[in-house]
Symmetry: C2
Subunit: 379 residues, 2 copies
């Protein structure tokens, strides 16, 4: 195996594949990066058994400057190899596998020899064999992930809640996550065959990594689902994740259909006020802020308190306040995550009672995105 390649292009693909490689794996060869060179091009593979990423560098695409000397394969220590490639002195690098998997890496005056491993010992990636593929807009997919992943549980006690529940039916993609204290739900209309139907749970961590591999230059992502794996293809990069097994809890009935107190806020403004109030709640043992809504006087006030360091009180600029007077307490960190997911928009907050979950939706599009937060009992 021998090739030369444009270093900057190689680094970009290496960075993508390295996201899947963990130094903590229990399978030693998975700390390595697999390189397979054919006449068609170079395939890089990284995996931590949960996630696998493949990047293909085509020999036909001139901008890759890939010159195939002789075909073959090798596994190289990923972290170490990546550090070397990033520090090489010239724009081009040459890699050649010699005897005993010893691999020579050259760039200008620098010549590295790296101990490689036999690529035949590298585990095979899952085969995903389906003709039902769904094409998603990359920007929309990234937004959907960012908006729902905040509610994913990081408690391994209920593994199913560490995933995002994706339901594809009736040309609509529904994504839900909940850690049982809060819930995020996002819907997207899709222009796909009406008979495509899936119901899967993808680990939240996988989707976060997927998001990171999707650069701003990626327009579309193709999603293919098999028995226990999902594959996302973006350009020449393939991203595999295992699926979580089990039944996701029924979440639709958790979302209240009516409310007794409503108010609207500018999301970034409310976020700033919550951040200030949480400075105090963080110094307290229960981390709770209180919101008081009084439609009679048209006043919304937020309170934070810590017996040790002090307290804060702030009048909020709530619009269209209506319904019943209410005092409600909640974890400000859940509220901050939820508010950040809305970006620079106006939101409507709807409350039922001081002990029932309340909801946040965009004022302009209440049907496709909802954040739900369970309050904290303080009395």
């Amino acid at each position: 195996m021998q090739f030369s390649i444009k270093r900057s292009l190689f680094i970009k693909n290496l960075n993508d594949v390295q996201r899947a490689i963990s130094s903590k794996t229990t399978i030693p060869i998975l700390t390595g990066l697999k390189l397979v060179l054919t006449e068609a091009g170079l395939m890089l593979t990284g995996s931590d058994a949960d996630i696998s990423i493949e990047a293909f560098i085509s020999a036909d695409d001139e901008k890759n400057e890939l010159e195939v000397g002789s075909t073959g394969s090798i596994v190289l220590p990923a972290r170490f190899f990546g550090e070397i490639v990033k520090k090489l002195p010239e724009d081009t690098l040459t890699l050649e596998v010699k005897d005993n998997f010893q691999t020579e890496l050259r760039s200008g005056p620098a010549a590295f020899t790296i101990n490689g491993l036999d690529a035949n010992n590298y585990p095979n990636l899952p085969v995903i064999d389906t003709d039902k593929q769904v094409v998603l807009d990359a920007a929309v997919l990234k937004q959907l992930i960012a908006q729902t992943v905040i509610a994913v549980s990081n408690q391994e006690s209920r593994p199913i809640l560490t995933g995002i529940h994706l339901v594809l039916a009736n040309q609509e993609l529904l994504a839900v996550a909940t850690d049982s204290h809060r819930l995020s739900q996002r819907k997207i209309q899709l222009d796909i065959d009406a008979d495509i139907h899936y119901d899967v749970i993808i680990p939240g961590k996988s989707l976060v990594e997927l998001s990171r591999t999707l650069g701003d230059d990626v327009e579309n992502v193709e999603m293919r689902i098999a028995e226990n794996q999902v594959l996302f293809v973006a350009g020449t990069t393939s991203f595999y994740s295992r699926l979580l097994e089990g039944n996701y809890p029924e979440t639709s009935r958790l979302i209240p259909t009516s409310s007794s107190t409503q108010v609207e806020f500018n999301a970034p403004q409310l976020l700033s006020a919550i951040e200030r109030a949480s400075l105090l709640s963080h110094e307290s043992h229960n981390n709770v802020v209180k919101l008081a809504l009084d439609p009679a006087t048209n006043k919304v006030t937020i309170y934070g308190n810590s017996p040790d360091v002090g307290n804060v009180e702030e009048s909020l600029n709530g619009q269209n306040l209506s319904g019943e007077e209410l005092e409600i307490s909640f974890n400000p960190d859940y509220m901050k995550d939820a508010l950040r997911s809305f970006g620079q928009t106006e939101i409507r907050v709807a409350f039922t009672s001081a002990l029932r979950p309340f909801t946040l939706v965009p004022t302009e599009d209440a049907d496709h995105f909802i954040q739900l937060i369970t309050p904290v009992r303080t009395f």
Copy 2:
């Protein structure tokens, strides 16, 4: 005590003073920020007993927008107070001390009440009473600190080596640091009274913090030295540090006066090559790279090796190589620190033998700056 002030200006001064405040102090009140308000202005003080920083905000300077309502003093929890001030919603903040040191902080719709402490319980800063002051160019002082602090020891076993030795004599400032493996020495000519003579050891950590408080807008720093304290005054900010007690080792005789092999490099180019070689040495248990200099063939080669992962060999672009053939091994991290301290310049490296310290100096100005590194015996 009551005042209002421009928030951005207050934050800048707060940031400076907070450098001195540690949450790990054994004296509880030193986790606080002291505010003393007089008709003349507001003095902020922070201290960790080793370092103390004072910042004065003048009421006469209109750009501070300081409105003094009533004079007084208070100590407020520094970290917490700083976080609040940075998150306040408006450009102006108002602070008022009420009963029992309760302090009200207002900005727009937000009102914080913070539990303060009696400023009379805050330790007094040292009094530095000297008429012999030395004015230093701030940029030169920062460079001197950056160039010497790399060789300061962080081993508390020989506390004296955790400082930088400053000798002021014959209108020259000499700064030396050594951790016994390497040594950095810098000289500056000063236009001061010929009878000013000082010989002090300032903790390296103090000088690093001093460097950080000196923004690009600071032109000059006034240095005043007393029995066991040094004071640096930059504009309206005063920086106090304790001095280290004891005798600094005699270092001048450590610097070789002759050499048997000499070569010149571009500092950033050599740094890149050392960084590549150290990728391998870092994977090895002894962290050593080897330099081979052969004046007969005009070749300089660097080698790095790790039995586990591989090795590297690189030809270096050394100029004016002369003297005897030499192979020498050293810690590449010491070399990297030294090379970074030269910036974008050409340097001359002079060797005596494989076991004797070697030196690096700027080719253009060999008298005022020298880095010395002790090699590692590998045979």
